[in-house]
Amino acid sequence: MAGPLPLGIPWPQDSILVPQSEESSSFHAYVHIPFCEVRCGYCDFNTYTASELPGATRESFHESLIREIEFSSKVLAQSAIPKRPFSSLFFGGGTPSLFEVDQIQAILVALEREHGIERGAEVTLEANPETLSREYLQGLFDAGVNRLSMGAQSFDPVVLSTLERKHDPAKVMEFVAVAKEIGFRTSIDLIFGAPGESMESWANTLLVATSLQTEHISCYSLIVEDGTKLAKQISRGELAEVDEDLNAEKYEMATKVFSDVGLDWYEVSNWGVPSTHNLAYWRSQDWWGFGPGAHSHISGNRFWNRKHPSAYATALEAGSPAQGMEVLDNRTRLEERLLLEMRIKGGVPRSLLNELLVSPKKISERIGSGDLVLLPGDRVGLSEKGRLVADGIVLEFLTD
């Protein structure tokens, strides 16, 4: 969601989508809650602090989201796409935990009413430990949220201050424990590679993170996005440049520490009990992204909403909040599959590589160099070393 939205074709006047693929797919929902109390220095997500948002208030914003949920069910019905209950839901942001329990509950009710939610579906909410209380968490759990993803980022106060994260690391520990007691599945997010982060600092963060015994850890290397405060600080020389070699070492260290505690990788940046929702993205399943700037994928149609919450809400009054869309042709769908599925543990089937006319020589060279491994079922996937250069492998496979 960073940067400008892609250019695309306009959303169809009649709001009818044409399915591009006959393959059956599960259905998922992403709900974007575009509010934060402060904006972090590295963040380029579509989020707003209260003062940045005239005309769209946090207290009533769930009404707009519900309006889009109703709209989505109308679109699918008009497009003769069979109704499917959601296999997973994800509340992301921003800081979704800035929403009241009632607001989350109202959204869940609307999702259930308009599309249905599978029994046992994974319902995740991103939480900022600073905003949490036991009561709040209990409320969420009772409303139907069953998985909590906590943005820990680091347990080193120096790194947190570089990232301008204001939370107290102790709060993460506290609320992970509380969440587990209540019965949530838990996950934490870590970010490595912040300017100035040493191997020792990262090792300590990993140690603390694993001691929390969450069932899942996401671990991202910091990407310095253009236009963020962090990028400016680096270009002015106030902070060190990101060292990708050091990041490679940090990644390897993380893999080792996680596997020691039984958290196995299942996607380039994810370890532990796989998240249904996360996998849906990498496997090109169908999902509807609700909220400003959210992206959707319905059977080869990708579309994205207006970014600004006020513009989004206004557009919804008239019909679709979509800013644009693209319809993927067969070749593009195959390329996307390679790009995305290559990242997950099961890799890609050989048949996909054949369809994309990837030369067997390139594949065998990458197997020879140890970047790729052969997997059962005539599949090819990333080795631990290969995971660090996944983008390069895909690029090589898709160019002459």
């Binding site: 671990c219 990708e244 070699d245 380039v268 993205y281 250069v389 983008d391 390069g392 895909v394």
Partner: protein
């Protein structure tokens, strides 16, 4: 002031006494084309409405760069003292690379306007062309241009001109090509001072070719100056150097658009069209006669164009090779000085070894190839011709460092030039330092006027083609000017420096340099490549070697991490766009063995730019 001529003289029937053939010689940027523009307007052959800047420069590149590559001849009517004259203005190229063409243009004239920027004074090019004009016994009319500039110092430079060509500083005309001031007086002066052409109108026809251009609709258009006799349409004409016979389909004058005439007679200047498609069949300097009444003696001064600088030109995409060949074939139609032959490089695949008159010529040709034929090209570092003699007595002519023979070398001869540098006296020190650093030996030094110095050096051509001119300009704040002429071959203490990527020699990066500079050169290129070549999947050692001796080494570490973790909120489109962008970037890479080398590396590695200026590696 003279009025515009009311009736122009009829070509083919003009008395030589009423003809004046002149050219304008000037340093680049001294405003020659602008002055020509004013003359076109003043004589009324181009009306004010259709006037555009540098009217006579036909090629886009000429107009963009503001320089004249191909000369043109325009017939201007002018009335002086109640008599009408036909003035033929021959516009000459103004760059060192095209000296031969200039000399032929001069040979077509009886007079030369020596045009000097009144704010800058004489430059080396002016001087070189002035000497050429004097050798051709031309009447010299000194003119100071740009007198409208606040920085103009006409008195000072009039003195300088007078001391150079003799005469009174007061005779030096002052004009402004920009405002038009003094241009009419200049035309009058040409009539007064330039002698009328003299020739035998009954002798067998002889016409000298001073330019030859290719027009995609008309074929080759040949510009000639009639020396003796006359030519008429439908005659069978013959080129004296090749004995080739062509039918004269069209004959005419340029005024300033082509105007068909009944012929050209003694002293006139005009164009011929024979339907040939290749300028090689009508070479500059050659003599045209007729088959029926052939002349026996060709005009003197004809010379084959001689390439001075060589470079390998390769398509980035190997499948473009046939297109490159076709493009070169087409360019050769309009540029007789371009020579090329197929060449293979282990690193770059199939391409052509091309010979050029100089660096500007090289630049113009590669730019035209890319622009007019939509090709993506790599041009290897320019080199010169070496004569190599091995211990076993075999001789080699090396135009490409990769052809440098193995084994024990007895002697290497390299081409030398005599360079003339003109500069304000304050810069003499830095110029001498520069020339010595470039292995130059001083011939002499002379003061021209109070504060301008002429330095003459004997230098290896290889040192000049590289970056001498740029360095000279930057060390003298742009005040020094340079001209050079061929000065034969001389033995040099030279070695070949090879560059190895992953232990494999990359012939495109090889160069022949002086022994004392081999180490510094190898180091510099290895470092530059390390910055320019992106990190690969594997470590890439870079080595520079003389023979089997490694003189420098660097290494590009393997890339360890490129994966972008984040794919937030399902924005797959953005991720794919990023991939598309990377794909485009990859297309601009050339595979050398297993190493991806960006195009810039080939150019930048051998240029003298500071490494800090080279593009920073991502």
């Amino acid at each position: 002031m003279s009025p515009r001529a009311q009736t122009a003289l009829v070509p083919s029937m003009t008395d030589p006494a009423q003809i004046r053939n002149f050219c304008i010689i000037a340093h680049i940027d001294h405003g020659k084309s602008t002055l020509a523009d004013r003359m076109l307007q003043l004589t009324g052959i181009v009306d004010d409405r259709s006037m555009r800047a540098q009217y006579l420069d036909r090629m886009d590149i000429e107009r963009e760069r503001g320089i004249t590559i191909k000369s043109q001849a325009v017939r201007l009517p002018w009335e002086y003292d109640k008599q009408t004259f036909a003035m033929n203005m021959i516009d000459t190229p103004g760059h060192v690379d095209f000296t031969y063409e200039v000399s032929r243009s001069l040979a077509a004239c009886e007079g030369a306007v020596l045009l000097v920027d009144a704010a800058q004074g004489i430059e080396a090019q002016t001087l070189a062309n002035l000497y050429l004009a004097m050798e051709n016994d031309l009447e010299i009319i000194p003119v100071l241009n740009k007198i409208d500039l606040p920085a103009a110092q006409p008195e000072k430079y009039a003195e300088e001109l007078a001391s150079l060509i003799g005469g009174d500083p007061a005779d030096c005309l002052r004009v402004s090509g920009k405002t038009g001031a003094g241009v009419a007086e200049l035309l009058d002066r040409i009539v007064q001072r330039v002698p009328a052409p003299v020739g035998d109108k009954d002798a067998p026809p002889r016409a000298m070719i001073f330019d030859s251009v290719y027009d995609s609709y008309r074929g080759v258009v040949t510009y000639v100056r009639m020396i003796d006799g006359s030519l008429h349409p439908r005659e069978q004409i013959q080129m004296m150097s090749t004995r080739a016979v062509h039918e004269l389909l069209e004959i005419g004058v340029i005024s300033p658009e082509p105007e068909v005439t009944k012929g050209l007679s003694v002293g006139e200047v005009g164009y011929l069209i024979t339907g040939v498609k290749d300028v090689r069949q009508s070479k500059v300097g050659d003599t045209v006669t007729t088959k029926l009444r052939p002349a026996t003696q060709a005009l003197k001064g004809y010379a084959e164009p001689k390439p001075m600088v060589f470079s390998g030109i390769y398509p980035i995409d190997g499948s473009d090779y046939p297109n490159l060949r076709e493009a070169l074939d087409k360019l050769r139609l309009s540029d007789a000085s371009l020579v090329y032959e197929p060449e293979t490089s282990a690193a770059l695949g199939f391409g052509f070894r091309c010979g050029f008159l100089g660096l500007l010529h090289l630049e113009i040709i590669t730019e035209r190839l890319e622009r007019e034929f939509n090709l993506s090209l790599i041009a290897t570092a320019p080199s010169v011709v070496y004569h190599v003699k091995r211990e076993d007595g075999t001789d080699f002519v090396v135009t490409n460092p990769s052809e440098y023979p193995d084994g024990k070398i007895r002697e290497v001869q390299e081409p030398m030039v005599k360079a003339t540098i003109l500069s304000p006296k304050d810069y003499v020190g830095v110029i001498m330092e520069l020339c010595q650093g470039k292995r130059g030996t001083m011939i002499d030094m002379q003061y021209l006027g109070e504060d301008r110095v002429q330095l003459r050096y004997k230098l290896p051509l290889a040192e000049i083609v590289f970056d001498f001119f740029d360095q000279l300009k930057s060390k003298t704040q742009g005040y020094a000017s340079l001209d050079y002429e061929d000065d034969g071959f001389a033995p040099g203490d030279l070695v070949k420096v090879d560059l190895l990527l992953q232990g494999e020699k990359v012939d495109a990066f090889s160069s022949i340099v002086h022994k004392d500079k081999a180490y510094a050169h190898g180091n510099k290129i290895a470092q530059k490549l390390r910055e320019l070549i992106p990190r690969q999947q594997f470590e890439v050692p870079i080595q520079a070697a003389v023979g089997s001796r490694i003189i420098a080494r660097e290494s590009i570490r393997a890339i360890r991490k490129d994966v972008l973790a984040k794919c937030y909120g399902g924005d797959i489109s953005r991720k794919r766009k990023l991939l598309e962008k990377q794909k485009e970037g990859k297309k601009r890479m050339k595979m050398v063995g297993r190493v991806e080398v960006p195009q810039e590396a080939f150019i930048a590695a051998l240029s003298s730019e500071d490494t800090s200026k080279a593009e920073k590696k991502k």
